[in-house]
Symmetry: C2
Subunit: 181 residues, 2 copies
């Protein structure tokens, strides 16, 4: 069977997905396509991106969209997490959270898998809190400021935590179960 | 001649546009349509929205998209200004700008006019600075934190300044000149 394609321009995401899916014997390959990302929920964005990619590649593939939703900021940066990260970074998020006692946040991931039968969505959520400063050098994006619930370390301090607790781990595990049936 | 349609859900924008266009004898009417806003530059967003609206209404109309670009924040909130305003508001912007000496920013407006001949774009820019606190109650959105270049007051303190200096005034004046030819 040819490798399943993961359409993404994010090397960190690809690395994580390869590790998780290989535990179930699924090999993946990376392809970066120009996708016109729509505005909407993570589900809408992922579904639309998978449709665009499948129309071009016509081979089984998946895309993944995710976001960090900070409760005290009405869900900011949410669906625009990647964009906001480029603009204001973790430093900007920590400034916005300055003096804020409610540190609660969650990461959400949506995987959209496309094959000749259509599109299937799988989601995963990881709840936690925003740290008071940047901590750790592992992972990518907002990992250095996100502490998963019940833990003391950020995802960037303990990538092993991320591997088994993360939103992306959960959505990809669901994909894996689906593919193995 | 039937009134020109301004497709917007923003009453503040409609009020400003009516005032500016009436000085040239152009009457406008408001219509709010569900438009699927794409991601991209202000020009791409406005052009795409005008196309969608014209396909539905088939009568001369215009849309307007605008954003506040803060130089020290790499252009944040830019194309996502309306969304960011709902999430973090002026208070969030001021927190992000806390301790920042470079206060420079500009507002940009793009008007997309559609009729049977196609779409024409008109832009307007207003340069200025981000205030150190919220000042004034006029205008809407980021007006209470934006001081136009060479002035001491925010757009919310002096709506008369906004009327003649603003990005939207400039783009709409260009539309007006085009319509009068």
């Amino acid at each position: 069977m040819p490798a399943l394609i993961f359409v993404t321009g994010n090397k960190g995401k690809f690395r994580e997905a390869r590790e998780i899916l290989s535990t179930g014997g699924i090999e993946i390959a990376n392809k970066n396509l120009p996708i016109e990302e729509k505005r909407g929920t993570l589900e809408e964005i992922a579904e639309d991106a998978a449709e665009q990619a499948y129309a071009k590649l016509k081979t089984p593939l998946f895309v993944e969209d995710s976001g960090l939703f900070i409760h005290a900021l009405n869900g900011f940066p949410g669906e625009f997490s990647a964009w906001a990260f480029k603009k204001i970074g973790n430093r900007g998020i920590l400034k916005l959270m300055g003096g804020e006692k409610n540190r609660r946040a969650h990461f959400k991931s949506v995987v959209a898998y496309a094959d000749k039968n259509g599109i299937k969505l799988f989601d995963g959520v990881c709840t936690g809190a925003i740290a008071r400063k940047v901590r750790g050098t592992g992972g990518f994006g907002y990992d250095p400021i996100f502490v998963p619930k019940g833990e003391k370390f950020t995802f960037a301090e303990r990538e092993d935590l991320k591997t088994v607790l993360s939103h992306r781990y959960k959505s990809l595990k669901k994909l894996l179960e689906y593919l193995k049936i």
